[in-house]
């Protein structure tokens, strides 16, 4: 395995001071990617553009110019981010050949601070999944056990970070897609408050729960990446105001009120996961945190709500992939209807089709009230329940996923079982609050993460507490 990277700020500092060259860092990253091909974490590299940008940065430094807080830091973006220099496929055949004419805001902001995107990571096609097995191209292998999945949908990004390909990677989290692979693969995965990072230029999955966040080795690095990306964007009307400086997050756990979500510790929870999480909670207590058990009686409904709202939005968001303007188009179509049916029929994989069908069904007239509307009502109830709970505690803690990484193929014939992987992560998406997964222990050679959550817009506080927890785990 490639050697560990330094903290992001240290790399950038050395680049700015001329001790490291951006071009060398890009070559190192590309070499790491190449040497870890067997894990199939990467769909494509953006090497030509990355090299050109690195050379530019090195020239600027020679000329004495400031090049930004992430000068020369290479990173990998999940392949649902629109990035110049390569195809953006979202791991779907229907986007084959799509070279984006614009870039996502997140990438623009990172680039403006000198970071360099070197590759695009694998994912479940359109981010539909929890294992990368739904990628239309290939399944990424877990860096700790090649017979197991890395988690998903940001499985390529998680594996890339764990394999030290680059110091950080970007993911998207619609129902747990950053936190769960972070837990399965063994890194930090951060899901910000909904709206804190612009979704502009990121292939939409479910617009009302999609967020963009970093996968890193440390909480501090996650905070740096968030600090660069966070804040309002005129291209995304759902973005919110940011807090000041997410990197000033030194704190300790004494007096912090942390709630244990009772409902997450039921029979379905794997014993090793339970042990690891309980051991971590004991350490938090020893460090002075006030641990309190809380009950969120409606949280069991979060998954049901999610699997109505998410497919509804998915079915709508995937309407634009019609083979008429970009990406794959069925060439031999005899007429417009054939072009639609065959382009979408050939271009979408099984899971995308499954979600389009469910979503179309729940939005149909006569069913809308029974499904979509009711799901929105329960969603509001859940939001209220979390708000009430956050009057009693400042943070919540629990497992990220009910099990460690499962074997490739183990759940792929059972979509419902696969959906259950999200059971502990979806609530944060439904409610819109920030949540983080940090490594907490192992089950054999498999990492296990622990999840921390905080109230809406309390990202800075959450990062601070997560950093304090990380230090004692």
């Amino acid at each position: 395995m490639a050697s560990q990277w330094m903290p992001l700020m240290d790399i950038a500092k050395d680049v700015q001071e001329g001790k490291l060259k951006a071009s060398d860092l890009v070559e190192t990253a590309l070499k790491n990617i190449d040497e870890n091909r067997e894990y199939k974490a990467i769909i494509t590299t953006t090497e030509a553009r990355a090299r050109a940008r690195a050379a530019q940065i090195d020239d600027k430094i020679k000329g004495g110019e400031k090049v930004g807080r992430l000068a020369g830091v290479p990173f990998i973006a999940k392949d649902n981010f629109l990035v110049f220099g390569a195809e953006t496929t979202a791991a779907s055949n229907i986007l084959k050949g799509f070279n984006p004419p614009y870039q996502s805001t997140a990438i623009e902001r990172l680039e403006s601070e000198g970071a360099i995107c070197v590759a695009k990571a694998n994912l479940d096609a359109f981010a539909h999944g929890a294992s990368t097995e739904n990628s239309d191209f290939f399944t990424t292998l877990n860096p700790n056990d090649k017979e197991r999945v890395p988690g998903g949908s940001s499985g390529g990004s998680a594996a890339a970070v764990v394999l030290n390909m680059t110091p950080f990677a970007l993911g998207t989290d619609t129902g747990g897609s950053i936190r769960q692979p972070a837990s399965f693969s063994g890194c930090v995965g951060y899901k910000p408050t909904y709206g804190l990072v612009s979704r502009s230029g990121v292939v939409a999955m479910a617009s009302s729960t999609d967020v963009i966040g970093p996968l890193t080795k440390t909480v501090s690095d996650a905070a740096v990446v968030l600090d660069v990306m966070a804040g309002k964007d005129e291209l995304d009307s759902t973005t919110i105001d940011r807090q000041e400086n997410y990197t000033e997050i030194d704190t300790d756990l004494s007096g912090k009120k942390i709630g244990i979500i009772k409902e997450y510790f039921n029979e379905g929870l794997n014993d090793d996961v339970k042990k690891v999480v309980n051991a971590a909670i004991d350490k938090f207590k020893d460090a002075g945190a006030e641990i309190k058990e809380i009950s969120l009686s409606d949280i069991g409904m979060a998954l049901s709500v999610y699997y109505i709202i998410c497919p509804a939005e998915v079915s709508s968001n995937l309407s634009r992939y019609d083979g008429q303007r970009f990406g794959y188009s069925y060439e031999a179509a005899t007429d417009l209807e054939d072009s639609y049916l065959s382009s979408r029929g050939n271009g979408f994989g099984k899971e995308a089709k499954r979600r389009i069908i469910i979503g179309t069904y729940v939005l149909s007239s006569g069913y809308y009230d029974a499904y979509y509307k009711r799901a929105q009502i329960v969603r509001t109830k859940l939001i209220n329940e979390f708000e009430a709970a956050f009057k009693e505690v400042d943070y919540m803690v629990g497992p990220v996923a009910p099990t460690p990484a499962f074997k490739i193929g183990e759940n792929s014939s059972n979509p419902l079982q696969m959906y259950l992987c999200d059971i502990m992560t979806v609530a944060a998406n439904i409610v819109g609050i920030p949540a983080i997964s940090i490594p907490a222990g192992v089950s054999g050679n498999l990492p296990i993460g622990i999840q921390l959550m905080a109230p809406k817009k309390a990202d800075k506080q959450l990062l601070a507490v997560a950093k304090a927890c990380e230090a004692i785990l």
Binding site: S319, Q324, L336
Partner: protein, 491 residues
């Protein structure tokens, strides 16, 4: 043809939906130019108009402002809370696979518009008006195995105004369409250019012999008041003929063939489309503050109905009033009403100006063979100068007309108007001494006629006045001349 007896058995019900293109600089959800009239195909587009992956709509605030003004022009107020929804269907000119529209929380709810037909006033209810993004334009050329799509229009903001089914004749439908047009123009929310399709009307028509509504048909995309009227007439006759034959009316969408003056079947609507409406998660709801709404209300320009009141108080009749109201919005450069309003404190002058605008200036402006040099900024002064000449009896109405026509396309400065009129011989002779001399001469030269007049034969006085005019080379004030003739002859 159906007899009027049969025709009179049926009650006609008409409702209208009207799409108004708002005159925003940019599109409803994209920072791209909105004026597609002269642009080559697909040049007014962006990643948003093109529906690329990751593209998010961003609401144009100007569209909310214009829709709010439109609300007041419909005797309503904008809703404090409204939101956007997705309406799904597949078509190549709809890039995202859904149209962004307002489903259950539109920006305008309720309202009304007054119309007048044959002297009868009627109030037509407005159900709602909602904002939506237009689709692109598809061209299906005959004999080609492809169609062309132009996305320049995709995303243009439309306000769809939906009326109650309150109209009961084609003339009411026409009057309503015209009144909506005037209001959108006076509120300054749309160019409302019918030629460019800035306003399009869909008419819903049904007939019935009792109080229950009949099955309706919708005739779409009418782009003139006349076609609204003709389409309603055609549908009423078609439906009555079918019913008289014992057939049923089928709910359908129909088109209008302007050349044949007929509606034709586009598609049957027996199975309702399922558009799978859902709230658009990319767009937060629109929440308007009271202060915002009140400011717009306080800044609303006068509506046609306000102008009607003002003009009619000057004594103008219906036809003059409507001519003025329409002419006002035919061109952006010339303001007629403001000119009249400037002088409302002097009703005689205001009325003089209003009359001369209707009778002279508007016909001249509409005459494309005449190039106007009468500019906006000196019109007020010129009208005032003409009025002075007219009021001091220096101009006959015939000469006033000639003088105005001259000035209309040959620049004459305000200070030179009188000398110009003099030079052209338009000024009439109203000096009694001078005129008395001429009268005296005419009486001497025409003793026969003079004695006839003296003997009470009034017919002859016209001849004498004519002689005075001739002797004065047309300058004499004819009524003064007549008075003087009578005086000299002692009648």
């Amino acid at each position: 043809m159906i007899s009027s007896e049969v025709r009179n058995k049926y009650k006609v019900t008409v409702g209208i939906e009207c799409h108004v293109q708002l005159k925003t600089k940019t599109k409803l959800f994209a920072a791209v130019g909105n004026d597609a009239r002269e642009a080559p195909p697909n040049t007014l587009t962006s990643h948003i108009c093109f529906g690329l992956p990751g593209a998010l709509p961003v609401l144009n605030k100007e569209a909310i402002y214009l829709a709010s003004k439109a609300a007041f022009s419909l005797n309503s107020r904008p809703q404090k809370f409204s939101k956007f929804d997705r309406k799904h269907y597949f078509y190549p000119d709809l890039p995202m696979g859904y149209q962004i529209t307002q489903y259950d929380e539109p920006i305008v709810l309720g309202g009304n518009v007054k119309i007048e037909v044959d002297g009868q006033e009627k109030t037509i209810g407005i159900t709602r008006a909602h904002l939506e993004a237009d689709a692109g334009k598809s061209t299906h050329s005959a004999g080609k195995d492809y169609s062309l799509v132009d996305l320049n229009r995709a995303g243009t903001p439309l306000l769809e105004i939906v009326s109650e089914p309150d109209m009961s004749s084609s003339s009411e439908a026409k009057a309503f369409a015209r009144e909506l047009y005037l209001r959108m123009r006076y509120a300054d929310v749309s160019d409302a250019n019918l030629f460019y399709g800035n306003m399009r009307f869909d008419v819903n028509v049904s007939v019935s012999t009792n109080d229950d509504l009949g099955t309706r048909t919708e005739t779409k995309n009418l782009n003139s008041f006349r076609s609204v009227e003709k389409a309603v007439d055609y549908e009423v006759n078609r439906q009555i003929e079918l019913l008289e034959k014992g057939e049923k009316i089928i709910q359908q969408t129909r088109g209008w063939d302007d050349a044949k003056q007929k509606t034709f079947l586009q598609r049957s609507k027996e199975n309702a489309d399922d558009y799978r409406y859902m709230p658009d998660p990319d767009l937060p709801p629109v929440i308007l503050e009271d202060s915002y709404i009140n400011t717009i209300e306080s800044e609303m320009p006068l509506m046609p109905e306000d102008w009607r009141e003002k003009l009619q108080s000057l004594g103008m009749d219906n036809s003059q009033t409507e001519t003025l109201l329409e002419a006002e919005v035919e061109t952006d450069e010339i303001e007629y009403l403001a000119l009249i309003e400037m002088h409302l404190e002097d009703p005689d002058l205001a009325k003089f100006i209003a009359n001369w605008i209707v009778n002279l200036e508007i016909p001249l402006r509409r005459d494309e063979t005449i190039t106007a040099t009468l500019t906006t900024n000196n019109r007020a002064k010129i009208y005032a100068a003409l009025y002075d000449l007219y009021k001091s009896d220096k101009l006959s109405s015939t000469n006033l007309k000639s003088l105005f026509s001259d000035i209309f396309n040959a620049p004459v400065s305000v200070s030179e108007i009188e000398s110009y009129a003099e030079q052209k011989g338009y000024i009439q002779l109203s000096n009694e001494n001078e005129l008395n001399e001429i009268v005296k001469k005419v009486i001497e030269d025409n003793s026969k006629a003079a004695s006839d007049v003296a003997n009470g034969e009034n017919k002859a006085i016209g001849f004498l006045v004519g002689q005075v005019m001739k002797n004065s080379k047309g300058k004499a004030n004819p009524s003064l001349a007549q008075d003087l003739i009578k005086k000299q002859l002692g009648v």
